[in-house]
């Protein structure tokens, strides 16, 4: 063996130094969030109970539970999914199965990227201009959900396209050779093989939609409502907006209530993201081709 030269030793030392430096940066990125989560749990954990989740707010929102907000979020997310999943999946089918590699496809991709980059408050303005006023939906679940659906459309398109792309081309060619049309091939071969991948994207979208606040503030979510929504043309409370309201708009809200609302919201979002990630990993491990 060669003896290690001084240069080698120095190089190794520098390398280790950099390794540790970058590790520190990664850790420093994560530590504040861990502290924040711990604080949320420490200050808001005590109020979380079945009662908190399933009772109405009382005393001008300074006491009681969060049920109307929770239910409203479910409404908004469900209606948004009904609109964006079919549209997003169809768009992804077009991009992956029909579109050629040309300037037109490129423009569509740019539009998708830009749609994802438009500030959420601009989406809110669009929702007000288009759905609330122009289409006459008023401030309603429908207007809020459609606004969110358009905003989160890129999430569905990108993840669906990703899972369509993972279906091997040979599957399609085999099907075409049997005399199947393009649509028959997509419906019977491509989509069944991609459906679980699409699902992970949908879960991700649910998580995004749950946390968004600005787009629903003026399109359908209300600060406080004494009744539950009966249909898509009603207004509703929503969990994300409820956090904003109890944190900034209502005086005298006890600390643990606001922290509790934040904790429920962040727990829902992180839980759904974790499910989506775990599901994705499980699929990757299971892949047969």
């Amino acid at each position: 063996m060669f003896a290690e030269s001084a240069l080698n030793v120095r190089n190794k030392r520098v390398q280790n130094l950099f390794r540790i430096l970058f590790l520190m940066m990664t850790v420093l990125l994560i530590i504040p969030v861990v502290i924040i989560l711990a604080t949320l749990i420490a200050k808001g954990g005590s109020i979380i109970s079945i009662d908190f989740l399933f009772t109405d707010p009382t005393n001008g929102m300074t006491a009681g539970g969060i049920f109307p907000a929770l239910l409203g979020t479910v409404w908004i997310v469900a209606v948004a999914l009904l609109a964006s999943v079919p549209l997003g999946v169809a768009a992804a089918i077009y991009l992956n199965e029909y579109a050629g590699d040309n300037w037109f496809t490129r423009i569509i991709q740019l539009a998708i990227i830009n749609l994802a980059g438009v500030p959420s408050i601009v989406h809110a303005l669009f929702g007000v201009g288009a759905f609330v006023i122009f289409f006459g939906f008023g401030t309603s679940i429908l207007a809020a959900s459609l606004t969110l659906a358009i905003m989160t459309l890129p999430v569905v398109i990108v993840s669906t396209r990703e899972s369509l792309r993972a279906v091997p081309q040979a599957f399609r060619e085999a099907c075409w050779n049997m005399g199947a049309t393009r649509w028959q091939t997509i419906r019977r071969v491509v989509l069944p093989n991609a459906v679980s991948g699409i699902l992970t994207g949908v879960i991700l979208e649910v998580s995004r939609t749950t946390g968004e606040t600005a787009p629903i503030m003026f399109t359908g979510a209300a600060f406080f409502l004494p009744f539950l929504p009966q249909g898509v043309f009603d207004q509703t409370m929503a969990l994300s907006l409820h956090l904003f309201v109890v944190a900034t708009q209502v005086p005298g809200v006890p600390d643990n209530l606001a922290f509790g609302v934040a904790l429920v919201l962040i727990a829902m979002v992180l839980l759904m993201n974790s499910i989506s990630i775990a599901f994705r990993m499980y699929l990757r491990g299971k892949k047969k081709w």
């Binding site: 768009a91 539009a111 601009v122 809110a124 303005l125 091939t185 979002v269």
Partner: protein, 310 residues
């Protein structure tokens, strides 16, 4: 995209395949095409609708000079309302700027660690963690700024109020960092392994490989990541609404409260009458935000794609 077109069989003259399946296929093709171009329609739709709502202001009360150069945003002044967004732009810029100072070193450092140093399970775990961090909703970040950072800043720096540029900048930096990390890591991953192998074959150590080979090769992708972070900072609403202090002000120090463009819309839209000059002015800010973020995203995309082609 396919080499074999299944519809070619209808080329044979004596074999007309236009049965029910053929029509269904054409119909579906039309439907998915419409869905495919929906993103373009929505982008154009967004621009048209916010312009429609803000149009009256642009025609009547709008003065280029006042709008962009006046630091006074006093839309509810009865006698002489002023619509200057200079202070709001300064607010957004100062917060975004500080956020980038926080986020750029950490996100690039983390991306380098995850992409070049970490391996196997550790890399997987870190990537999942970064993805989860990116998922925390902005209203929760705003709440953190309000209820955790605010007292912390008051204690640490002995200032009366902790809602200021510093607070919002740190919050926004923490928010943007995970997204920038994953885009930067993608950029590092896009550098072909043969570059690294060639450098290692010449006797370079790992950090030499990173600094002399990988980073220069990934330069454009990393720049794209930073630009997208800036775009995100510019467009962020709830967190800056809750953590900046929301005072129209050109900041002189980190401890001054400011107000952002996005936050102004969020705070005032609910109080204005539909169609009033104030309401239309808010939509005009929306048009401005739309154009700025459009340019930022487009530039980022062109920079990133530029290198992929080469």
């Amino acid at each position: 995209m396919s080499a074999i077109n299944p519809l070619n069989r209808s080329m044979t003259t004596d074999f007309d395949s236009r049965n029910m399946d053929w029509y269904i296929d054409k119909f579906v093709q039309f439907i998915v095409f419409v869905a495919g171009i929906s993103a373009i329609i929505f982008i154009i739709g967004i621009f048209i609708f916010i312009t429609m709502e803000g149009f009256g202001f642009l025609l009547e009360d709008f003065s280029f000079r006042e709008f962009f150069l006046s630091p006074f945003w006093e839309p509810s002044d009865e006698d002489a309302p002023e619509y200057g967004i200079l202070a709001l732009v300064a607010g957004t810029a100062s917060v975004t700027g500080l956020a980038m100072v926080v986020a750029i070193p950490f996100s690039l450092g983390a991306a380098i660690f995850i992409g070049e140093f970490a391996s196997g399970k550790l890399r997987e775990y870190l990537k999942v963690l970064v993805e989860l961090l990116a998922a925390i909703p902005s209203v929760v970040w705003g709440f953190i700024g309000l209820s955790i950072m605010n007292p912390l800043i008051i204690d640490l720096f002995d200032v009366p109020v902790g809602l200021n540029v510093l607070n919002a900048g740190i919050i926004l930096g923490l928010m943007a960092a995970p997204i920038m990390t994953s885009i930067a890591e993608d950029a590092l991953k896009a550098v072909p392994d043969r570059y690294r192998e060639a450098a290692e074959a010449l006797g370079a150590t790992r950090w030499q490989v990173i600094f002399k080979t990988v980073l220069p090769a990934a330069k454009n992708g990393l720049l794209g990541a930073v630009l997208l972070g800036v775009g995100r900072g510019f467009g962020e609403t709830m967190a800056v609404l809750m953590a900046t202090g929301h005072a129209v002000n050109i900041p002189g120090s980190l401890f001054d409260p400011v107000r952002a463009l996005t936050a102004t819309i969020a705070a005032e839209l609910g109080e204005t009458a539909v169609g009033s000059p104030h309401y239309q002015a808010l939509f005009t800010i929306g048009i401005f935000l739309f154009i700025i973020t459009f340019i930022i995203n487009l530039t980022a995309d062109l920079i990133v794609r530029g290198i992929r082609k080469g």
